[in-house]
Amino acid sequence: MLVGEEPYAPYQRPPLSKDCLLGKLEPDRLLIRDPQWYAEQGVTTRFSTRIREIRTSRRQVISDQGDILEYSKLVLCTGAGARTLPERMGGDLDGVFTLRTIADMQRLRPVLQPGRRLLILGGGYIGLEVAAVARQLGLEVTLLEMADRILQRVADRETSGFFRDLHREHGVVLRESTRVARLAGVDGRVRAAELESGERIDADLVLVGIGSQPNTALAESAGLECDNGIAVTETGRTSDPDIYAAGDCTSFVRNGVRVRLESVQNAADQGDLVARVLGGEETAYTAVPWFWSEQYDCRLQIVGLNHGHTHTVLRRSGKDRSQSVWYYADDRLLAIDAMNDTRSFALGRRIIEMGKHPSPEQVADPEVDLKALVRPPKR
């Protein structure tokens, strides 16, 4: 049985901040599978159903309506929720948005009208993607980042700089090291942001893109071990022998560091892993993470995890606005950010999966054919 709080069958979220928000793709195209498909596979579905409690000792979950559902094994795939601004900072004013669900997208899309002033708080992927969409729709966009650079949590300076330039060229007013004290409204509607410096920035709409938090409340109240996510082993197990977890709600140890990933790759691969483990297969989570983002006509593709890198190497493809940043821990290749450089992403992913570590000199030299490192030349 598959139970979910939202009224729809599982869907793809990435287009919510990209083609869907631009109006190029309708939400009905987002479903991962047709709703009937689940029944054909023998899966009962219950949507619009929120689970409020797990009774581990009786192996039951209780829905908001008070229904009791029994399980022999339970898999928590509760995802994450957008972080919001607290009420005291004006987070409850009309005209303030977050973006996580189809419903959020449907609220935001109609108000993105040309000429309106959109203020975006947070220079992570969602903030940047919405900035790109809003500029394409003709809004005036200001983006504020409190850290000293956008994408600071996830990328190196080189990548941050690439996207800073990209957005400024497209007319976004992008300001880093800038903290908002609170949002100010009139008659319950947002009108401006007041910065800690005392400066005031007028706005008609505010998008809060300050990250997300894993939906762990259910797991925590059931006593499952949580640490920035439901702690899972490399076989997807939680601290309760009958409960597994997968996706954005989990955290796990990779290369000695506890990580929580928010990506389609991780959700799909952990989901696949748990299904296999439940089916009795002996397997463990080793998939190499990957991620993508789209802003204007720029495609960012990432492979690997850059935690603990000591330096980066820049590879220019020779084409305009096309480059990749290779993250190394000493001489070990950890991860790659590829901007408009799918070749580096695709071949780099193979290189990382094969456990190879090309030298920084090889990588920096655009004359070196990455393909030779992956598939030996055919005779």
Partner: protein, 106 residues
């Protein structure tokens, strides 16, 4: 509606009518074709929608752009001359009768 056939290598054939305007990855998912996952939703980041096009149909599926060509470097089963990422091909009446071969990863 356009008729598409997927031949699963060394296994069965799946044939079905597909709504025009979808892409061939979405069409495969709608017909529950195994080994086609479309993990990235068709944005050229996963290569989990790889197919071999029956040679006589190859030209009809249109040109392969640079990004698709680069992504074909990371398919699970090594690319061939007839390889396409099926999310990049839109279903249209001209493709009626199209035959695709679905490779099975190791």
């Amino acid at each position: 509606m356009t008729r598409i056939t997927w031949k699963i290598e060394g296994d069965r054939d799946i044939s079905g009518e597909v709504e025009d305007g979808l892409n061939l990855m979405e069409a495969a998912i709608a017909h529950d074709v195994p080994y086609i996952y479309g993990e990235c939703g068709g944005c050229l980041s996963c290569a989990t929608c790889h197919v071999f096009v029956e040679p006589e149909w190859l030209e009809m599926t249109g040109p392969v752009d640079d990004v698709e060509d680069a992504m074909l470097e990371m398919t699970d089963v090594e690319r061939r001359k007839t390889s396409r990422l099926s999310c990049q091909v839109e279903v249209s009446p001209e493709l009626d009768g199209l035959v695709l071969h679905v490779p099975i990863p190791e």
